[in-house]
């Protein structure tokens, strides 16, 4: 585990030195522009607009980083052969994978936290105060981070057995499908055979459920997010990531490097 930590810290250092966190400048500019504009165009619904925009930006920027860097975590190391010298050290392949995953999640956590702080500052600027109900924004940010962690795990899995381009397509595809898991579960029973019904039901439970992470509307309107949902999403993410990372480790442990 200590060795995974060493890999994780280096992965974080790589992201920082490769200027991944520069996206924060873009986010800051976006939020500043929004803060100025919102006062003029949306009297009475400033909070809704600012929170929706801010959370959407946090989610979109995080998605881009998690998909592209998630796929590159292992494939770049294999491509550039930086992995060779590392795997000759007393480090297991699963420890390497876990470290890479942890390093990117740490990067995303720092990035998301900085953006969340920016969002709260803009909210204070617009509303001149913060209320207890604004805690929902923090929960929404936490859910975004959980979602990003799951996306990183999936990207890592795909990159272990296919090309980077296909891994990106698979990850994005699965994310989009995962946004509609509830609809899949509630397909009209009348039009389907029992076998098809059982299959779609099974599929809806196997596919990652990204819909549950979306509490943007609640946060935008200052409604509290139920504690049960926080617990459920946290557990769901931990278990799902553990399964996906185990699968990734199983594939990667048998993979011949170039």
């Amino acid at each position: 585990m200590k060795r995974a930590g060493v890999v994780a810290w280096n992965t974080f250092r790589e992201a920082v030195r490769d200027r991944v966190l520069y996206n924060l400048v873009f986010f800051a500019l976006l939020m500043m522009a929004a803060a100025v504009a919102v006062g003029q165009i949306s009297i009475g619904i400033e909070q809704t607009v600012i929170v929706s925009l801010g959370l959407s930006a946090i989610s979109a920027i995080g998605l881009l980083i998690s998909v592209f860097l998630g796929v590159a975590l292992v494939s770049k190391e294999m491509d550039k052969r930086t992995l060779y010298a590392l795997l000759a050290k007393p480090v297991r392949r699963w420890e390497f994978l876990l470290g890479k995953f942890g390093g990117l999640v740490l990067t995303l956590a720092v990035n998301t936290a900085a953006m969340a702080a920016g969002l709260l500052l803009v909210m204070i600027y617009v509303k001149h105060t913060l209320e207890r109900s604004d805690a929902a924004v923090l929960v929404a940010v936490y859910f975004i981070l959980l979602k990003l962690a799951l996306i990183v795990a999936l990207a890592l899995l795909f990159s272990c057995f296919t090309t980077p381009l296909l891994a990106i397509l698979f990850t994005v595809g699965l994310y989009i499908v995962g946004l509609y898991v509830q609809e899949l579960r509630n397909l009209p029973v009348q039009v389907m055979s029992p076998a098809m019904l059982a299959f779609t039901k099974w599929l809806s439970y196997v596919l990652p459920n990204f819909e549950n992470y979306n509490v943007m509307a609640m946060a935008a309107h200052g409604r509290a997010v139920p504690g049960a949902l926080i617990l459920q999403n946290s557990l769901y993410t931990v278990v799902y990531c553990a399964i996906v990372l185990t699968a990734a480790a199983a594939v990667f442990s048998r993979r011949n490097l170039k």
Partner: protein
């Protein structure tokens, strides 16, 4: 006698290829050999012979189709074995956002060294490979030779018992090659086992206690460079001087430079040839054993392999 440092038994590696991966290309075929503790072993062969494949198999970067290997008595699947092994990959490439000192410190962390020990070793190794002045420069600004030096430093950073180097002289200038040779000899003096692959035969002849010659994925000979060559040593060379002309049939077989001639004969024909030349009025200047170089031995094997490959191709057609 101590146990061998590296034992390889029937190691085979096949790569599937083609649309459905139904065809197979054999990169390494039934390799069995040993590297003794404390020796410098050279693994020589042309490009694509299977040298790097063997080393990658030993490092578990790729997995064998058949066979097994042990290093320091432990199976290569045992990750803890890597505590005692140093490895330099071929044409190494490292995290270019790190400086040399940071990279070495990063790798040292996997060996559970204390912070003070890490710092001390990193400084010592950077000095040893001549990079102490470039220690704070990011690796993206390093030349190929400098990267090779960093690679060598990371391979011996943790004071391993066995050091495996894949083409360690590659990309180095003459000074760099000399320094690497010195490091290999120093490792040997310290009782380490060194196995390195190369296609530069003079390096192997100069440094190795034994060499293994691999061609076309098959091991074609193992032994001390001298004994390998001796097996193929044949003939005697006579250097003589002859003024004027002669009808001796030997003259037509000799190479002439001015009045001097160079003649190669079989060992059993030496005395008869000398008699004949003296009878023709020649002055014998020297007689020497014709020693095939490692290069000739190596080239013969390569030629044989090529001839076999083309014969298979022709019969296939």
């Amino acid at each position: 006698m101590p146990d061998p440092a590296i034992e390889i038994e029937n190691l085979t590696k096949e790569y599937p290829f083609g649309f459905l991966h139904l065809k197979k290309k054999t990169s390494l075929e039934g390799l069995s050999m040993q590297v003794e503790t404390g020796e410098v072993f050279g693994f020589i062969g042309p490009n694509g012979a299977g040298k790097s494949t063997t080393i990658k198999l030993l490092m578990r970067l790729i997995f064998p189709t058949a066979g097994s290997a042990r290093i320091l008595g432990k199976p290569i699947s045992d990750v803890e074995m890597h505590r005692d092994i140093g490895y330099l990959p071929e044409q190494p490439y490292f995290y270019d956002y790190l400086t040399a000192a940071e990279l070495l410190d990063y790798f040292a962390r996997f060996h559970d060294l204390t912070a003070a020990d890490r710092k001390d070793r990193v400084e010592r190794l950077l000095k040893k490979v001549g990079l102490e002045t470039a220690r704070k420069i990011q690796l993206r600004k390093y030349s190929k030779g400098m990267l090779q030096r960093v690679g060598l430093a990371q391979a011996i950073l943790h004071d391993p018992k066995v050091v495996i180097l894949d083409e360690p002289m590659s990309g180095l200038d003459p000074v760099g090659r000399r320094e690497v040779r010195d490091i290999i000899l120093e490792l040997k003096r310290d009782g380490k086992t060194v196995m390195f692959s190369t296609h530069i035969l003079s390096d192997a002849e100069m440094l190795c206690d034994r060499v293994g010659v691999i061609v076309g994925g098959k091991l074609r000979g193992v032994g001390a460079p001298g004994t390998l060559v001796d097996m193929k040593t044949q003939g005697m060379e006579i250097l003589f001087e002859l003024r004027g002309t002669s009808n001796s049939p030997l003259l037509s077989k000799a190479t002439r430079t001015g009045d001097r001639y160079q003649l190669q004969v079989a060992e059993e024909e030496l005395y008869a040839a000398i008699e004949q030349l003296r009878g023709a009025g020649a002055r014998i200047l020297s007689v020497a054993q014709v020693k095939a170089t490692l290069e000739e031995f190596f080239m013969n094997l390569v030629e044989e392999d090529r001839a076999q490959a083309s014969a298979v191709e022709v019969s296939g057609k």
